[in-house]
């Protein structure tokens, strides 16, 4: 037993050391940098940043545009989730809604902007269809649409998940009590959903507030905090300590949002048991919500049509003949194919190592009595709150003078840290649900703790680990925000290469590389789904 405890402690220590090295120290470097003056520590950087009107302006720009986007996202996400859970829309349509709304997750955000330009710009597909641009896509409008596309999947999944645990029998009771429509809606749906709705709003806000890809592509003259941070760090006159200050300013709303979300969760309504039988969904309601949701999903997918039209058109917008020449050209360009291979490498490594780290962290946290196990919950909160750009900047400051600069290692480490929260919680929840007596039974049968983990726990958590793999893979494939500070000539990724191609307005290449990412992610998703289905059929 003593041996086992030592082993657990050893594992916990190693893992915590990893997090200190790859998370705490880089973030500390940002904080230190923001107080670093010409001679010693100073508040001067903050004074300078706050006294110039620029930061104030972009901060409020960001807050404003993110708020609008978050409101729209929350309403749409609610509509979609409500349609799936509380109407009698046909099952296949529900499935299409669910898959359609999550599709944008498989693409880097920087692609969204270019797709929007080719959909609604002066020569965009829809502008041509309607004879003129419907609105100006550059700037505010483009940002709002882009942010909504980006945050809708996450907000939808959050509400979808919450509604799965709602008891529909309350609606029956409400009917029997002859409640009015609005009273019923408030008590059986809105009130229990308040916490997830608030959560979805905050999540959408934070994601929009900290995203770099969308403003980089379609921001126009509407400056937001993410592009300002990029320009300050990598513009013509780099100013690292100002960059550090801006990233601290960027961190503040994210931390605030996370705290609010924690408070909101206390208002969660829990049901004793759950019945998902849809109750009393009138035909009008089904048709109304069903068609509304279908329209949203169609609009969402329509926005992405340039992605499959433009790169296969001879010379958009002059010659609409179908061609494969652009596609063949990209395949024959070794530098572009190398970039794709780099992305694949990073995604596979991130997913494999990520699974191991999430599993060990979850295991120590859910199935041991180590003192350090609480630390993992704190770590998961930190990785959730820290924006990708801030963490990326921390890596830049912390690793810039080490031999790790410019390696795949720091990119992979960044991705594992940045996306740690969800995988950790997935594993932890799965492990907590398992019978707590397995370890004791294992010990009685004279299996060592490791043997029990290997023979009993691991096989039972396999499904979750596959989901974690898929989550890590897809996110590593599409991440832009933090890696822009970390890539070098040998480690360029598709998502950052797109930014370089933007410089030369090479949209065919941008779209084809985006398609590569999309198809790769779909393939990985299908393989994982296939595996999960086979597993659940077996037993």
């Amino acid at each position: 037993m003593i041996k086992t405890t030592m082993l657990m402690r050893g594992m916990g220590f190693l893992l915590l050391a990893t997090f200190v090295f790859l998370l705490a120290l880089p973030l500390g470097a940002v904080v230190l940098k923001s107080f670093e003056g010409v001679d010693g520590w100073t508040l001067h950087n903050y004074e300078q940043a706050l006294s110039s009107g620029v930061l104030k302006e972009v901060f409020f720009n960001s807050v404003w545009v993110s708020t609008i986007a978050a409101v729209i996202t929350t309403v749409l996400a609610f509509l979609l989730a409500y349609t799936i859970h509380f109407t009698n829309v046909a099952k296949p349509i529900k499935k299409i809604i669910r898959l359609g709304v999550t599709l944008p997750m498989l693409l880097p955000t920087i692609t969204y902007g270019f797709v929007l330009i080719y959909a609604f710009g002066n020569q965009g597909i829809f502008s041509r269809l309607f004879g003129q641009p419907l609105f100006t896509i550059y700037g505010f409008n483009g940002l709002v649409i882009g942010y909504v596309l980006y945050t809708l999947p996450a907000a939808f999944l959050l509400m979808h998940n919450a509604m799965q645990y709602m008891d529909h029998r309350f609606i029956i009771v409400s009917h029997l009590m002859h409640d009015g429509k609005w009273r019923r809606f408030y008590h059986t749906i809105l009130r229990p959903m308040l916490s997830p709705i608030g959560g979805a709003f905050i999540l959408a806000f934070i994601l929009s507030f900290t995203d770099y890809g969308i403003p980089a592509s379609v921001g126009g003259t509407y400056d937001v905090i993410a592009t300002t941070l990029y320009q300050t760090m990598l513009g013509s006159i780099p100013n690292f300590s100002q960059g550090a200050v801006i990233s601290i300013v960027m961190l503040a709303p994210a931390v605030l949002g996370m705290i609010t979300m924690g408070i909101l969760e206390r208002g969660n309504v829990s049901y004793k048991s759950v019945s998902q039988q849809v109750a009393f969904a009138s035909k009008t309601k089904t048709v109304l919500f069903g068609s509304g949701s279908v329209i949203v999903v169609i609009a969402l997918l329509a926005v992405f049509t340039p992605l499959i039209i433009v790169p296969f058109t001879t010379a958009y917008p002059f010659d609409f003949g179908f061609t494969l020449t652009h596609f063949q050209a990209v395949i024959q360009m070794p530098e572009l194919m190398n970039v794709y291979k780099n992305s694949l490498l990073v995604a596979v490594c991130t997913a494999l190592v990520g699974v191991v780290i999430a599993f060990i962290a979850g295991l120590l946290s859910a199935r041991t009595n180590l003192k350090s196990r609480k630390a993992f919950d704190v770590i998961a909160m930190v990785t959730n709150a820290v924006p990708g750009m801030v963490l990326g900047l921390g890596y830049l400051f912390f690793f810039n003078n080490s031999s790790l600069k410019g390696t795949f290692f720091i990119i992979i480490a960044y991705a594992i840290m940045h996306f740690f929260t969800t995988p950790f919680l997935m594993v932890k929840n799965a492990l907590q649900k398992m019978d707590p007596s397995w370890e004791v039974t294992g010990a009685l049968l004279r299996d060592s703790w490791l043997q029990t983990v290997y023979r009993v726990i691991l096989p039972n958590v396999k499904r979750t680990l596959v989901e974690v793999f898929s989550y890590y893979f897809i996110n590593a494939m599409v991440t832009v925000s933090g890696v822009i500070f970390l890539v070098t000539t040998h480690t360029v990724l598709v998502s950052t290469k797109i930014k370089e191609l933007q410089h030369f307005s090479k949209f065919n290449e941008i779209f084809i590389l985006s398609l590569f990412i999309l198809v790769t992610n779909i393939v990985v998703k299908i393989i994982c789904e296939f595996y999960l289905n086979r597993q659940s059929k077996r037993g």
Binding site: G121, N122, Q123, T136, Y138, G139, G220, T221, Q231, L234, G235, S236, I237, P238, F240, Y316, P317, E335, N342, L345, V348, C349, L352, V353, G406, T407, F408, F409, I412, R455, P459, T488, T489, H490, T491, V492, E500, Q502, H503, F504, S505, K506
Partner: protein
Amino acid sequence: MNKKAMGFLAVASSAVVLAACGNGSASSNDQVIIYSNADDEAIEVMQNTLNDKGFKGEYIIQSVGTSELGGKLLAEGKKIEADIVTMASYYIDSADAQHDMFIDLTSSKALIDETSNIQLPILGNVGSIFVNTEMLVQKGLDTPTSLKDLTDPQYKDLISIPNIMDSSTGWLLVQAVIAEYGEKEGQQILADLIGNVGPHLESSGSGPIKKVKTGEVPIGFGLRAQALDAKEEGLPIDYIDPIEGNYSLAESVAVIDKEDDEKEKKAQEIAITIANEAREQLLVQYPVALYEGENVANEPAYLKKWTSTLTVELLQQHQAIFNAAKQ
């Protein structure tokens, strides 16, 4: 899954991870890395020349925006990843003044204008206005003849220019305006111009020509050579030399002092090959004479140069004027 299979899978997958991740980071450390701010056409010429001269596989060109590359040079000095840069000449001089970071390069050819001996000019950029003639007619617009003309309200949201914050081509425009009208009137003209440009302020020097070509806007400012190319391709594009002047900038190649003799020697060879061998073709694309004996057809009508030497400090002054005009 049985125990053996699982064990095998675990070993195999960790082996793959280690091999792949290790392999990736250690790849080809002896390749010479070239950071270039040049347009893709120019990069293609350099690549073809180097491949012809037997350097295939020994180098890798990474294109970086002018402002980003400038920032990297000033911030990182000799620690920059690149062994060679091709960059606006004033940036190379300023970075060298700050970090003493480049080695001397000599060419057998005589230059028209004196430059520092740490760089060899490879191409000259000249700015001009260009228009999409079909769209001008379609929208019923007057053909502009000067930069000041572009401040006319009829061109509202119909002009695309590069941003001086990101692109040295954008500086060519600002130089022409400030030299002709002075700082005060110049700033007003820039303010009106930026007002007309609206969302079409581009970070890349080649952004405006692409927008004029695809018809996003009928009028742009950028490199004269690009408009010339488009015209020769048969597109409805024409260039207009603004009466304020066609200002020009030289782009040079320079080798970073890495204190690694062997690689530095190869970098030096590559840099000299770019300057000497690629020059002929670059001159066709960027028709500005830089070396004695070079002849250029189709000279710009109002070729001019800023009176003093271009420096990063001057750029910053002009950026400040531009930003003040933007407010």
